[in-house]
C-alpha cells in the first residue's frame, strides 16, 4: 500500500527524522494561510502516489503567500500520470547545499532489507544505477541482528566527508531502518536527503510503501489509505476477499487462483482476445463471492462476455455452479457467461449449469475460445 509524502513525513517525525515544517491542505486559500503563518518562502507540493511530480509541474517554489495561493490553484485538480491531485503539502522552502539518496528496500535475492545510499540525490535512483552505479553503495542488513551503528556509519561515510554530517546521516539511516521494520514497510526512501547551508541534514521528501500483508497489525497505517486514489472496483473486490485488477479488454475473467488467473488472461491474449480484468476468486466457492465478482465484472461497460475458469480441488464444482446460478438470478447480467469447471463434482456442476442454459466445458482452452466467439 502506498501512502502520501505528508503521511510518510508524519511517520518520520515520530522517529525524529528531521523534516521541514509543513502542513497539508486541499484549498488554495489554505495554502495562502499556511504561507502567511510560516512567514517564509514555501514549497507547494502535489500529494499523489506517483513519482515525477516535479517534472509534471506539481512542485512549485513560492516566495510569498500570494504565489502559494496561485500555485495551489494550479496544482490542485492537476492530473499527474492518471491521478488527480486532491491535496497539496505546503512546506518551508529549504536552502539546499547538497542532495543525497538513502533508501531501504526488500531484496528478494538475499532475502534481506538492503540499504542503498548515494551522494547523487534528487535524481531517480534507477537512473543513477544505470548511468553511474559506482555512485551507489548497497548494504544488506542481517534481519535477525538488525542494523548496527558502525554499519550505518559506513554507509554515511560513502556520502559525506565532513564527520558532523556523517554522524547525523548515520543516525537518520538507523532511524529509517527502524521505520522500515517497525511498520512492515517494503520500501522507505529519502530522496533527496538535503544538506542545508547551516550544516544540518533534512529529509526533503519521504516515501514509504507498506507491505499489504503487514497491515493487519497496523490499523493506524491501514487508516492512511487514500480511498480517492484507489480504484473503487479494486476496493470492493478487496473487501470481499477477492483480488481484482482492471484491464482494458472486453473479456471478463473470474478464476480460482492467482497463477491460473494470470494464465487465463495470457491465454485470452494468445488466442487473439483482450482480457477486461484479472480476478482471483480464491479458494472458497461461496455464492456471495461469485455475486460480488460478477457484479464488478459485469459493471464494466466494455465487458462483452464473462468467462469462469474454475479448477476445483477442494473447491467443489457443484458449489461453484450453484453460486454462478444464484449470481445470475440476482444480477441478471446483460452479457453471456461461459464456464469451465474441472475437478471435484465436475459432472454435477455441468449438469446444474445445463439446466439453466449455461454453457460449460472441462477444458481451459475451449472456454477461452468460447468466450472469444461470444465477444466478437
Amino acid at each position: 500500500m502506498k501512502i502520501h509524502e505528508y503521511q510518510a513525513k508524519d511517520i518520520f517525525a515520530k522517529y525524529a527524522i528531521p523534516i521541514p515544517k509543513g502542513e497539508v491542505t486541499s484549498s488554495p486559500d489554505g495554502a495562502r494561510h499556511i504561507a502567511v503563518r510560516f512567514e517564509r518562502p514555501v514549497m507547494v507540493k502535489a500529494q499523489v502516489h506517483v513519482g515525477g511530480r516535479g517534472k509534471a509541474g506539481g512542485i512549485k517554489y513560492c516566495k510569498d503567500p500570494d504565489e502559494a495561493f496561485f500555485s495551489a490553484q494550479d496544482i490542485l485538480g492537476m492530473n499527474i500520470k492518471g491521478l488527480i491531485v486532491k491535496k497539496v503539502l505546503v512546506t518551508d522552502a529549504v536552502d539546499i547545499a547538497s542532495e543525497a539518496y538513502v533508501g531501504i528496500v526488500l531484496d528478494r535475492v538475499t532475502k534481506k532489507p538492503v540499504i542503498m545510499v548515494s551522494p547523487a540525490g534528487g535524481i531517480d535512483i534507477e537512473e543513477v544505477a544505470a548511468k553511474t552505479p559506482e555512485k551507489i553503495m548497497k548494504f544488506a542488513v542481517d534481519p535477525i541482528m538488525g542494523l548496527r551503528l558502525f554499519e550505518a556509519t559506513g554507509l554515511a561515510m560513502f556520502i559525506y566527508k565532513d564527520f558532523k554530517l556523517v554522524r547525523q546521516c548515520a543516525t537518520i539511516i538507523s532511524k529509517l531502518y527502524k521505520v522500515y521494520m517497525d511498520n512492515d514497510a517494503s520500501l522507505t526512501e529519502i530522496n533527496p536527503l538535503v544538506g542545508t547551508k547551516d550544516g544540518s541534514l533534512i529529509s526533503l521528501d519521504a516515501k514509504i510503501v507498506l507491505d499489504d500483508n503487514g497491515l493487519y497489525r497496523h490499523p493506524d497505517l491501514e487508516a492512511l489509505r487514500d480511498m480517492d486514489a484507489e480504484d473503487p472496483d479494486e476496493m470492493a473486490a478487496k473487501k470481499a476477499d477477492l483480488s481484482f485488477v482492471k484491464l482494458d479488454g472486453n473479456i471478463g475473467c473470474c478464476v480460482n487462483g492467482a497463477g491460473l488467473a494470470m494464465a487465463t488472461m495470457d491465454l485470452v491474449k494468445h488466442f487473439g482476445g483482450e482480457p477486461a480484468n484479472f480476478l482471483d476468486i480464491g479458494g472458497s466457492s461461496s455464492p456471495e463471492k461469485v455475486i460480488v465478482a460478477m457484479r464488478i465484472i459485469a459493471g464494466d461497460p466494455k465487458v462483452k462476455v464473462i468467462l469462469f475458469n474454475i479448477f476445483g480441488g477442494i473447491t467443489r464444482c457443484d458449489d461453484v455452479a450453484n453460486g454462478i446460478i444464484k449470481a445470475v438470478e440476482q444480477l441478471r447480467p446483460r452479457v453471456p457467461i461461459v464456464v469451465r469447471l474441472t475437478g471435484t463434482n465436475e459432472e454435477k456442476g455441468h449438469q446444474i449449469l445445463k439446466q439453466v442454459g449455461l454453457q460449460a466445458t472441462s477444458s481451459m482452452e475451449e472456454v477461452v475460445k468460447m468466450a472469444l466467439q461470444k465477444a466478437s
Binding site: 532475502k111 534481506k112 534481519p143 512492515d184 500483508n213 492467482a258 494470470m262
Partner: protein, 332 residues
C-alpha cells in the same frame, strides 16, 4: 522415488482442530499420508481425525517422533508456528498460510537456514509425492505416480498443468508448490537440485510467474548443474506493471520481474517455455526423446571402460601375453 516427502514421512498438523486443519488432515490421512498427530494449544489430550492432539510441538514430537509439520494457522500465528516447529526438531515445515508479513519471513528464512530446517511456503499448496505422501491441500485425484518432477509458484495453475501431464500418461515423482510470496523458504533452485539428484525423476516442469528473479537464477543453475531436461511455463505475460496480481510476490517493479525476461533466460539455457499449458506434455516428451541419443553417447564411455577393464585383466594374467598383443597391435 521422490523428494522431500515419501512413504516414511511422519506429519504433525499444526492447527489441526481448526476448520481447514481438520478438513485437510482428514484428506491427507485418506490419501495414505502418515499423519501421526496434531497441535492446537489448549486442545492437548483430545483426538482429532483419529490422531492425538497436543498442546505444543515439543510434546507432539516427543510422543510421535514426527519429522514434518504442516501449518494451517492464520497469518498472525503462522510465523510463531514455524519457529515452534523448528525448535521442536522438525526437519521439514510446510506452511500453507497466505498473508504472512514479508519482513517476518526475512528473519524466518535465515533462522531456519542456520538451523538446517527446510521450509516450504508460505502461501503454498504444499508438496505431494503421488502414491506415497501428500502434505498440503492439492487435489490428490489429478495426480499420478511417475517420473516427472513439478515445481511451481502457483496453486491451481499447478493443478492445471499436473492435470495435463496425468492425462498424457506422464506421472509425477513429486509436485512442490513453493508459494506465491516474495520471500519463501524453498526456491526453484532448491527443488531443481533435489530433482537432479533423485533417481526417480527423469525430467522437470518449472512453473513460474512475474515478480522477482527466481526463474532467472534457476536458469543459471540449470545451465551449470542440470543434465535432466527441464520445461517451463511462465504466467503473467500480459500482466500490467506495478500491480500485484493476486500473489504478494507477483508484481512487476519497474523493469524487473517481467515474464518476457524469465522466458528469455530459460530459453537461453535450452529450456523450452510452453506458450499455453496444454503444450507442456508435448515439450516434455520431445525433450525426453532428445535424451535418447545422449544416452547412446554415454554408453560409449562405458564400453571403453569395459575394454580397459579387460585389458587390465589380461595384463594381470600374463604380462608377456598382453605385451606381445600390444606389439602385435602396433605392427598393424
Amino acid at each position: 522415488m521422490a523428494i522431500f516427502v515419501d512413504k516414511n514421512t511422519k506429519v504433525i498438523v499444526q492447527g489441526i482442530t481448526g476448520r481447514d486443519g481438520a478438513f485437510h488432515a482428514q484428506q491427507m490421512i485418506d490419501y495414505g499420508t502418515r499423519v501421526v498427530g496434531g497441535v492446537t494449544p489448549g486442545k492437548g489430550g483430545t483426538t482429532c481425525c483419529g490422531v492425538p492432539v497436543f498442546d505444543t510441538m515439543e510434546e507432539a514430537l516427543k510422543a510421535t517422533k514426527a519429522d514434518t509439520s504442516v501449518i494451517y494457522v492464520p497469518p498472525q500465528f503462522a510465523v510463531d508456528a514455524i519457529y515452534e516447529a523448528a525448535e521442536a526438531g522438525v526437519k521439514l515445515v510446510v506452511c500453507i498460510t497466505e498473508g504472512v508479513p514479508a519482513n517476518d519471513m526475512l528473519k524466518v528464512y535465515h533462522y531456519l537456514k542456520a538451523k538446517g530446517v527446510r521450509l516450504i511456503g508460505p502461501n503454498c499448496p504444499g508438496v505431494i509425492s503421488p502414491g506415497l505422501c501428500k502434505v498440503g491441500i492439492m487435489p490428490a485425484q489429478i495426480h499420478k505416480k511417475g517420473n516427472i518432477g513439478v515445481v511451481s509458484r502457483s496453486g491451481t495453475l499447478t493443478y492445471e498443468i499436473v492435470f495435463q501431464l496425468t492425462n498424457a500418461g506422464m506421472g509425477q515423482s513429486t509436485c512442490i508448490g513453493i508459494g506465491g510470496d516474495p520471500v519463501i523458504g524453498t526456491n526453484f533452485i532448491d527443488c531443481l537440485e533435489a530433482f537432479e539428484k533423485d533417481p526417480g525423476t527423469s525430467a522437470v516442469v518449472m512453473i513460474g510467474e512475474i515478480g522477482g528473479s527466481d526463474e532467472e537464477m534457476a536458469a543459471d543453475f540449470i545451465r551449470k548443474k542440470m543434465k535432466k531436461p527441464v520445461v517451463g511455463f511462465i504466467a503473467g505475460r500480459t500482466a500490467p506493471p506495478g500491480k500485484r496480481m493476486g500473489h504478494a510476490g507477483a508484481i512487476i517493479c519497474g523493469s524487473s520481474g517481467l515474464a518476457a525476461d524469465k522466458i528469455k533466460a530459460l530459453n537461453a539455457v535450452g529450456v523450452p517455455v510452453a506458450d499455453i499449458p496444454s503444450q507442456v506434455p508435448g515439450l516434455i516428451a520431445e525433450r525426453m526423446k532428445k535424451k535418447g541419443p545422449a544416452k547412446a553417447k554415454k554408453a560409449a564411455p562405458k564400453a571403453k571402460a569395459k575394454i580397459a577393464k579387460k585389458a587390465t585383466a589380461k595384463r594381470k594374467i600374463g604380462t608377456r601375453h598382453a605385451v606381445s598383443a600390444k606389439k602385435a597391435g602396433k605392427r598393424r
